[in-house]
Symmetry: C2
Subunit: 353 residues, 2 copies
Amino acid sequence: MEQANPAEVATARNRKVVLREYISRAPMEDDMLLVDGGAVPLRVPEGAAGPAVLVKNLYLSCDPYMRGRMRDNPNSYIPPFKPGSVIEGLGVARVVDSTHPGFSAGDIVSGMTGWEEYSLIQKPEQLNKIQQSDIPLSYHLGLLGMPGFTAYAGFYELCSPKKGEFVFVSAASGAVGQIVGQLAKLHGCYVVGSAGTNQKVELLKDKFGFDAAFNYKEEPDLTAALKRYFPEGIDIYFENVGGSMLDAVLVNMRVHGRIAVCGMVSQHGMTDPVGIHNLYYLVPKRIRMQGFIQSDYINLFPQFVDDMAKHYRDGKIVYVEDMSIGLENAPAAFVGLFSGENVGKQVVCVSQE
Amino acid sequence: MEQANPAEVATARNRKVVLREYISRAPMEDDMLLVDGGAVPLRVPEGAAGPAVLVKNLYLSCDPYMRGRMRDNPNSYIPPFKPGSVIEGLGVARVVDSTHPGFSAGDIVSGMTGWEEYSLIQKPEQLNKIQQSDIPLSYHLGLLGMPGFTAYAGFYELCSPKKGEFVFVSAASGAVGQIVGQLAKLHGCYVVGSAGTNQKVELLKDKFGFDAAFNYKEEPDLTAALKRYFPEGIDIYFENVGGSMLDAVLVNMRVHGRIAVCGMVSQHGMTDPVGIHNLYYLVPKRIRMQGFIQSDYINLFPQFVDDMAKHYRDGKIVYVEDMSIGLENAPAAFVGLFSGENVGKQVVCVSQE
């Protein structure tokens, strides 16, 4: 693919996934297009505005927050994608060429990149260099990356956990949920998770060590289901889904309970999302409910990486990812997040080297 | 009314307001009955279980939380009323007789009493003795009582207010709202309130010194209205109403905003309350939303009374109450809370002495 020519700069084919147009519903595969970006020179172009890095993308991360960037909302906390332009997302990549003194060809980095084979990173300061180790590279998109850090910051900074408390995690086998549940177990909590298939429920109990788990699609009455799993009520709810699950949780919360709102994946893309009817319970139960974004706690990131790598090496935290192979499968992998197709953290392997 | 007879204990007629039966909708006058409780001896009965106090009720408080006690919900944070029994509520009363060493005939007290002319208080420890002063006795049910303390604890303990921040108060002319708004002004905040009549809106601006106020019933689009009043967004929302106002507020909150949930009066008594559709905004705006009950902060009560009495005497806080005269008018006064009939804190005068 990389064609060397002594007289010229080597080039490579660069396929890209671009956003077709803004949407206001749940994303579909056809909202993204795989296009041939032509031949890309494998060198940082001369005359670039400043130091830049050209990378070959290895692994791309599919994350629910990206749905928000497909919406024409210039006031969002993160700017929308541009129709016709390449999708941006977190990834792990290998440096091919660099005019930035901090990076050299061959370095492995993680950070914001493009859904394409090669990306020119104009702000290389945002990249993190990865020290290769026994931990798989793709894990830097989950266990040791943004989702893992979301779990870590959300659980420790917002939930005020105490040993012996009752913790409920929705979307519990997902990138964030699986780590929240395991951190809560390590903290001495009683942990129950919900997921949307029996396979995921088994994973929660057998692999991640949750005390119990259930398939929410098989529960006609979520309020009754939670009462069964938490006869004494819920102290901490790590909220990933919204909708009727949140209503059922509110009824089952204990006095002085905490709800960390990480996301509400059931509400993404609905123009008329399901209304929440039980918010009044916040008052008699004195519940604290708080939304958060992991980047507000970024000063904790180095500590997080140390803690999590140690837990992983000690066998105290396990991690499951769902790997799609090939850039061409990235749109389907992303869309699958919103119907729960993925089992574990969804990533796309663009290239293994 | 109090008939002395040298050979017997004096007695008095004792009319009572009793709950007819449990309800699960908004309360109506007919849910309460005025009954003749017969002649009551004006002395603590011999053989009472422990020290007790017989009081003559002077002022009774009508508070929205009492609606919850009309529901058959044994799991509530406060036990339900009993059908056929006298309604309980906060009141100011004069001690007629006492077998408790802390109270003597003639003392003025506030605390939990009955909606009747005379009440036998079996747990007099919960009563507070009121030192009579230039502050009207009924104000101990509002400005210096539970609603004032709700405003004080909710604003200072939950809202983390900073000078210059933008504060919105719903049900702003009510018992709690009027005080929250004035405390926020004293703190250097910009304060807007909403109410349900133009008369109340004028009161907010002219009497309570809010920076602006509006009649929510005249706003077809609450989201647009709030955008007009808060072009830079809302930092703090003191939530008294719920429903569509909360949805409109969520859209208009600023990043890292705080919502103190004091009550949701629009949701009281509805079997199918209006759903909240915009909770997802908690995440990108990193909003902290917290329900509370004033009694959790009771250690601050003495400081509150000192602060508030000083503010009142210094003319820095004003107070408006809506006084109904006569026990027979208590049911209508209470029911009026839920349709906004009251202008200011609703109290009932049973007797002036």
